[in-house]
């Protein structure tokens, strides 16, 4: 025979347990949030103080740093600290790879959610997961051994070029864009599609006139997040872009980005030297840019909210 426990006791017990769990959960989650916030704030403060030193302590002119194209930090008599070619390079590879990857990624997302939800997902999903899992050094190495010689022989130039960087980066940011775009498209309420079909719209009309505008804020977020990743990527780009300090005049010219200059020089410079500080300043630019990207996402999504 089952032992009968009065309802009151059971209630008390479960209530106590429930309270315990509630409190523990709350503490756990709050700790996580506090750690994340403090990490972000401390990185910002650290990078801010480090990055501003070259302007405050070493007297490098901020305007020269941002606009001059002459980068010559090792010249003892007349060192020049113009980071503009690298800033330009970073923006060039970022925007160009977004232009390549955004249509591809959003197209793939539409294919997976609207055109062929069952088998399309089955094929594309693992492909995208595979792309995410490949480390960036492997992308760089494939770029160096396959892409660079290919471009040199079939397109022209040295092979080390903006174009190579853009191609490698587009493939690298494709998973980010596709995944977020897929989530955005599949989370659209079903009655949007049904309403559109009920009005007599075709599938393509529904996608173009209803679904894409409805998901646009999230799609833009996907693209901007992809761009943020492209802006910060160093290793793979460094291997294929050539790292030339001059401004590129066309797509086949070798170029350099902020991140490649940082990774190339960081180990060779000594802490506290002017050159080291200017590298930190470049890091600060990267951070500021990622803030700008985030603000952009905020702005876009708040404006387009339905």
């Amino acid at each position: 025979m089952e032992k009968i426990i009065p309802a009151k006791e059971r209630l008390l017990k479960s209530e106590k347990k429930w309270k315990d769990g509630e409190l523990r959960g709350k503490i756990l989650v709050t700790i996580c949030a506090v750690i994340m916030i403090s990490a972000t704030i401390s990185i910002t403060i650290f990078l801010g103080t480090k990055g501003l030193q070259s302007f405050i302590k070493n007297g490098v002119s901020l305007i020269e740093f941002l606009t001059s194209t002459q980068w010559n930090p090792t010249n003892k008599a007349n060192p020049e600290y113009g980071a503009f070619p690298f800033i330009f390079g970073s923006f060039a590879v970022t925007f160009l790879s977004a232009i390549v990857a955004a249509p591809l990624g959003i197209g793939g997302a539409i294919f997976m959610t609207e055109i062929a939800p069952s088998w399309g997902r089955k094929i594309l999903q693992p492909v995208i997961e595979l792309l995410v899992g490949i480390p960036s050094v492997v992308y760089g190495f494939i770029g160096l051994t396959v892409l660079v010689p290919f471009i040199r022989e079939h397109v022209g130039g040295l092979g080390f070029s903006l174009l190579s960087g853009v191609i490698v980066l587009s493939i690298m940011i494709l998973p980010t864009i596709t995944t977020i775009a897929t989530d955005a498209m599949s989370s659209l309420p079903k009655n949007l599609r049904e309403g559109s079909y009920a009005l007599g719209a075709t599938r393509w009309q529904t996608i173009r006139k209803v679904l894409i505008p409805a998901a646009l804020p999230s799609l833009l977020t996907a693209v901007v997040l992809g761009m943020a990743r492209a802006f910060g990527e160093a290793l793979a780009v460094q291997m294929v872009i050539g790292n030339v300090r001059d401004l590129p005049s066309n797509l086949l010219d070798a170029s350099a980005t902020l991140t490649t200059i940082i990774t190339l020089n960081m180990g060779h410079t000594t802490y506290g030297s002017v050159e080291n500080n200017t590298l930190w300043s470049m890091g600060l630019i990267l951070l500021v840019m990622s803030f700008v990207f985030i603000l952009l996402i905020r702005y876009l999504s708040s404006r387009r909210k339905m």
Partner: protein
């Protein structure tokens, strides 16, 4: 219950990690001091403790190989060798976070390093020369032409009697030690023109091999096959003998710096690096030249004199 167990396991693991990390940092110096005492009393019978070395990525393979043999002979010794660049090595040894900092260049040449606090141990010599794509068709270059090539005044190999090919420069990063040495001794201080820049010598070699008309510079140890052609400068071949006798100008010391005089385990290891065994066998295997066989000497300002 189950989640509690998991959680406590996680906490335990985290605590363990913090503990080991703390030990790794702090214990090394303590242990070295301990070794110092024992080696004095017991006439270096048994070495023990740990030593951390960081710096020049060019020196890393050499020092790591020597450390491995040293650890085989002294099983109680633990030596960690990290690469990271000459600047990192010098910074870390100056602030005391490693016992030995390796560098391709003299500490005096790096900005922001208290060179007077550091003691220089020259453990090896490395020779370098310009390397070209084999299809370029030249094997010897005059120094003045080399300077013209690297400063962009000569842009086609046919001007130097080679093939009709555009010259493609492959550089190292601005602050790289190899670049500094090559600029100083091969280009007489001229600033090279813009070119492809790569940090790893292996990549530089690969690019020179694959790109028509390419020229870069590499340490002798990279001339193991005929995928790139090392250039003689002013008719002097880039060989160990020519570097040792002082005829070939482009070479540099590989420095191991300690903060203050080396003692304890650091001293034992540096002595080991200078031993005939390492200087005459391991160095050669790794493509370096023994510092003990040099007939010339150089100071931080680049002045060379006969020994």
């Amino acid at each position: 219950m189950k989640s509690l167990k998991k959680f406590s396991l996680l906490t335990l693991f985290a605590a363990l990690m913090v503990f080991t990390a703390a030990c790794g940092g702090g214990a090394s110096t303590d242990k070295t001091e301990g070794t110092d005492k024992t080696s004095k009393t017991e006439e270096k019978k048994e070495l023990s403790g740990s030593l951390s070395v960081s710096g020049s990525s060019a020196m890393q393979p050499l020092v790591a190989a020597a450390a491995e043999e040293f650890m085989n002979e002294n099983p109680n010794v633990d030596i960690q060798v990290n690469a990271g660049g000459s600047g990192t090595g010098l910074s870390q040894v100056a602030e005391g976070s490693v016992q030995i900092g390796n560098s391709d260049v003299f500490a005096e040449e790096k900005e922001g390093i208290p060179a007077d606090q550091l003691v220089d141990h020259k453990v090896a010599v490395v020779g370098m020369t310009a390397a070209v794509n084999p299809k370029v068709g030249i094997k010897d270059i005059k120094k003045e032409d080399l300077i013209k090539v690297f400063t962009g005044k000569i842009t086609n190999w046919k001007e130097l009697g080679g093939k009709d090919q555009k010259i493609v420069l492959v550089n190292r990063p601005d602050s790289s030690g190899t670049r500094a040495i090559f600029n100083k001794f091969a280009l007489d201080g001229a600033t090279p023109a813009e070119g492809i820049t790569e940090d790893s010598s292996n990549t530089v070699k690969k690019i020179i091999n694959e790109t028509e008309g390419a020229i870069g510079y590499l340490a002798f140890s990279y001339f193991t096959d005929d995928s790139v052609t090392p250039l003689s400068i002013d008719g002097i071949e880039p060989t160990a003998e020519n570097v040792q006798s002082g005829k070939f100008p482009v070479w540099a010391y590989q420095h191991s710096y300690t903060k203050g005089e080396a003692d304890g385990l650091a001293k034992a290891f540096l002595d080991y690096l200078m031993s005939d065994d390492i200087q005459n066998t391991l160095l050669k295997e790794q493509g370096y030249l023994p510092v003990t066989k040099m007939k010339v000497e150089r100071d931080a300002k680049g002045n060379q004199k006969n020994l």
